[in-house]
């Protein structure tokens, strides 16, 4: 495959309070084996050399597990390839000459820090209200003292594979964090270890989710389709069941 040229439309915003706009850039001679973020690195190198302000992007592991990177590419959180993080997108997936739009994860609960970098601490605060088993370190019984069926363990792992990137919020037309919150609640609802504090967990986490200003879940399911881990919205239903049990029973 030969090298390609692209036109980029990138969201630029200096700071949280400042207005932003889409700015056009061109990148030339891009190898198809380059990752999307490497292409952005290249553009930034160019901008630095020209004495311009490089585009702020955050990324870390670049292998799709840390959840740091997160861009809306061509209108889709983490791009058009499903079950893939932004950092795992390669330029061979784009057509030569294509115009690519790059925007930050948008949500009122994710204020923009600069350009494409947003603040996702709201998700941490949801976890702090109950995204754990409330036991202290030390004094745990033998790990095999409590058998858990393979199916249950796998279901819990499906839920807990969430990388906390916030793509679900970004893709949701309502900026709902139901998939993120639901996955964590569902993980512990499946496991016997999560049982003692399950009521407190779901009520407090759901309350925090609302407090942060995330929207209502309208069951569009867009979150499931953009989730790099493919977490299903059945976990949202599970959260709702847990919520009813906790508040009605």
């Amino acid at each position: 495959m030969k090298n390609c040229n692209f036109k980029l439309l990138v969201w630029r915003q200096k700071g949280p309070q400042e207005p932003g706009k889409m700015v056009a850039y061109t990148v030339n001679d891009i190898s198809p084996d380059m990752s999307f973020l490497e292409m952005m690195d290249l553009l930034n190198e160019d901008l630095i050399k020209k004495g311009e302000d490089p585009i702020a992007i955050d990324s870390d592991c670049r292998e799709g597990i840390c959840g740091t990177c997160g861009l809306v590419i061509q209108g889709l959180a983490h791009g058009s390839k499903q079950k893939t993080c932004t950092c795992q997108i390669y330029m061979r997936d784009f057509k030569d000459g294509e115009t690519i739009t790059v925007e930050p994860f948008r949500s009122s609960a994710f204020p923009i820090i600069k350009d494409l970098v947003v603040n996702r601490s709201a998700l941490d605060r949801i976890i702090s209200k109950g995204g754990y088993v409330a036991n202290n370190i030390g004094g745990a019984p033998d790990a095999n003292a409590m058998p858990i069926s393979k199916e249950t363990a796998e279901l819990a792992l499906d839920a807990s594979s969430c990388i906390g990137c916030g793509a679900c919020v970004a893709a949701c037309p309502n900026s709902s964090a139901a998939l993120f919150t639901g996955a964590k609640i569902s993980q512990y609802a499946h496991l016997p270890q999560g049982s003692p504090d399950r009521k407190k967990r779901v009520l407090e986490m759901a309350q925090q989710m609302d407090k942060e200003g995330f929207g209502n879940c309208s069951n569009h399911g867009e979150c499931e389709a953009v989730c790099p881990q493919g977490i299903k919205i059945s976990h949202i239903a599970k959260m709702r069941r847990e919520f009813f049990k906790a508040s009605l029973l």
Partner: protein, 647 residues
């Protein structure tokens, strides 16, 4: 830097307690001091880093009642690079009934580290490994299970038993989320305060003790000081010194390096691990390397064409024209030799001109035979996600031609800040945990041991040993208005200001690439006196380039990745000199450190126990000055050093 004569300082004592090895930790715990529950709330502990070691330590200390402040460079503590560990975590549970024991885990780890670790520390690690699994399961970490509901185990390199617990290919993630959950629980109670997007830029030492840290707020560039009674540094390793590594982009050496500049000894810096099965470099724009699980070597055969510069595609090269170099050289272990051996041999065949791919720096990992033998379903089940990953990155479909190109890459650093048995550095009050310290893996780390060490340090060692220190130190804090803090802040401000004005021609990324390439070529898988001297002469030139020709964009009061990287790059440049110097000093081959002058006739690593059975701990003397070498002699009472052989 003068490197032909190295000044030697006083020998170090690791303070491993006396007594029989299986009683050391027990008797040590019984003898160290305690802080009363009422007094714990008078102490503040600063924890830098929120990976497995940092998060588990902070959570444990918060639960005990200490005031804890956690600093991480990410926007959330959950993003630390421990999350990327795939394989698993070792523990001597002996659940599979295959005759595993604390002793075996101890001896495998010590042997795997080529007898360059402390016996006492390694034994404690093996001893505590079981409690880690219990703790994690109680936390709701969804480990893989058998149909009967009990935990599943798998085998890993360097061991003859199955003792690795795992959660699909995301064990690190699940363990970290467990520790992160515990941490957030403490954050909710207010015992732990979390400071995200903060990078530690200095350690503040007052009256000879660690009293606080100075950090830079990455969001707005503010320089902030925090005072505490003890500082825990758990900021991981320094693989990114080589630019291309499997580490995350933000992993860096600045925190430990700045501790080193304040007097903390840096131990065994030349011990770095190079992992054999990574996806090869494919262009000079590349930003990082991706690891593929070692498990591929269970069913894959590594080979290169016998002919140099063979341009045919792999499936057109007939069997007799292929060199299965590991099987040829190591008939017993074959493709399952330890990481360092596999890596080195891949390098050797590429050096001989037999490498494959565009860059000629890759070898084949061939799964065709296994595919024929076990069928598609088996391969899909075992390696499906790795095949997908390979295809995503390279654009080649391994299902069509099951021959992948791989090459070794920097992965882990065994070296780090020197600590004693209490995990305290030579600066009282400065504790170093996880990959950031040097303690348990000697010259080579076994697979699935890094997670074990991080959690062991954080959950089960530091909560005890820090109490011993705090009980003996006063409750008085050093004010952040003191000259020590103000001086440190001023120095950082100045170094930042010096950088943001730079209008040279070379970007930080370009210069970092140059440093990485120099280090990879000269202080990589094979080192010799000449290459190390080349490195030691090359690094000052890069430093000069940094000072005279660097360009740094943006300002100091906004999110500025370029400035962050520039600050880190200078520390890498100084550290690179130390790594090279340490490698030059250690004229033996052991574990991941292969000195070409010290090999057997068959080209195997040759350890020289009479001369080098010690830990090298370096004391900083100033920029460009030769550091002082302190030696901590290693004694092996229980397991006598033997030669590793995989023939």
């Amino acid at each position: 830097m003068i490197y032909n004569t190295i000044p030697e300082g006083t020998p170090l004592n690791g303070k491993v307690p006396a007594g029989p090895i299986e009683k050391k930790w027990q008797s040590h715990k019984a003898s160290i001091k305690l802080v009363s529950p009422a007094n714990k709330k008078k102490y503040t502990v600063l924890v830098v880093g929120s990976g497995l070691a940092g998060a588990s330590a902070a959570a444990a200390l918060g639960e005990l009642g200490y005031n804890v402040k956690v600093f991480c460079i990410h926007d959330s503590p959950r993003r630390a690079h421990s999350i990327a560990a795939q394989g698993g975590i070792n523990a001597a549970k002996n659940y599979p009934n295959d005759n595993d024991s604390v002793w075996r885990l101890f001896s495998d780890t010590l042997k795997g580290g080529d007898f360059r670790a402390r016996e006492g520390n390694v034994y404690r690690l093996a001893e505590l490994s079981m409690a880690i699994i219990d703790q994690c399961v109680a936390q709701g970490v969804p480990f893989a299970r058998e149909y009967g509901g009990f935990l599943a185990n798998r085998s890993f390199g360097g061991a003859l038993v199955s003792r690795t617990f795992y959660a699909r290919g995301q064990t690190g993630q699940q363990l970290l989320l467990g520790a992160y959950g515990s941490l957030m629980r403490q954050a909710n109670t207010g015992k732990v305060q979390i400071f995200p997007k903060r990078e530690m830029l200095d350690l503040v030492v007052g009256e000879g003790k660690a009293k606080g840290i100075v950090v830079r707020n990455l969001e707005n560039g503010q320089i902030e000081s925090y005072s505490g009674h003890a500082v825990i540094v758990a900021t991981g390793g320094y693989s990114n010194l080589y630019f291309l590594s499997t580490n995350a982009k933000n992993c860096n050496a600045s925190a430990i390096w700045r501790c080193h500049r304040r007097g903390a000894y840096f131990a065994n810096p030349c011990f770095v691990q190079i992992h054999p099965t990574c996806i090869p470099v494919h262009g000079d724009y590349q930003s990082k390397l991706t690891l593929m699980s070692e498990s591929l070597r269970n069913d894959g055969r590594m080979w290169v064409p016998k002919k140099q510069d063979d341009k045919r595609p792999p499936n057109e090269i007939p069997e007799e024209e292929r060199d299965y170099f590991l099987e040829r050289k190591y008939p017993t272990y074959g493709n399952l030799v330890p990481r360092d051996v596999a890596s080195r041999n891949a390098k050797t065949v590429c050096d001989e001109g037999k490498g494959v791919g565009d860059t000629k720096r890759a070898v084949y990992l061939d799964l065709s035979d296994s595919l024929k033998k076990f069928g598609l379903k088996y391969i899909e089940e075992q390696y499906g996600n790795l095949f997908e990953m390979y295809q995503r990155i390279t654009g080649e479909d391994p299902y069509r031609v099951p021959v992948m190109k791989i090459y070794p890459a920097l992965h882990y650093t065994m070296g780090g800040l020197w600590v004693d048995y209490n995990l305290m550095s030579n600066i009282p009050g400065l504790f170093v945990l996880g990959e950031a310290n040097f303690s348990d893996h000697g010259a080579n780390r076994l697979g699935a041991s890094a997670l074990m060490q991080g959690l062991c340090d954080g959950y089960f060692v530091i909560p005890y040993t820090i109490g011993d220190y705090l009980a003996q130190t006063g409750a008085g804090k050093l004010s952040i208005e003191s000259t020590e803090f103000k001086q440190a802040e001023k120095e950082i401000q100045e170094s930042v200001q010096k950088l943001v004005g730079k209008k040279g021609k070379k970007t930080v990324l370009e210069l970092h690439r140059e440093l990485g390439l120099l280090m990879w070529n000269q202080v990589g898988m094979g080192r010799n006196q000449k290459s190390l001297q080349t490195a030691l002469e090359g690094i000052p030139q890069l430093q000069k380039e940094f000072q005279e020709n660097l360009i740094v964009s943006g300002d100091a009061n906004h999110w500025n990745k370029d400035l962050e990287s520039a600050l880190r790059l200078w520390d890498y440049m100084e550290l690179a000199e130390l790594v090279s110097l340490d490698a030059l000093n250690r004229a033996e081959s052991c574990g991941g450190h292969f000195r070409e002058e010290s090999q057997t006739e068959e080209g195997e690593a040759l350890r020289q126990d009479e001369k080098f059975q010690y830990v090298s701990a370096w004391e900083y003397q100033g920029q460009g000055k030769t550091p002082i070498l302190h030696k901590e002699p290693l004694e092996f009472e229980y397991l006598k050093p033997i030669k590793r052989s995989y023939k």
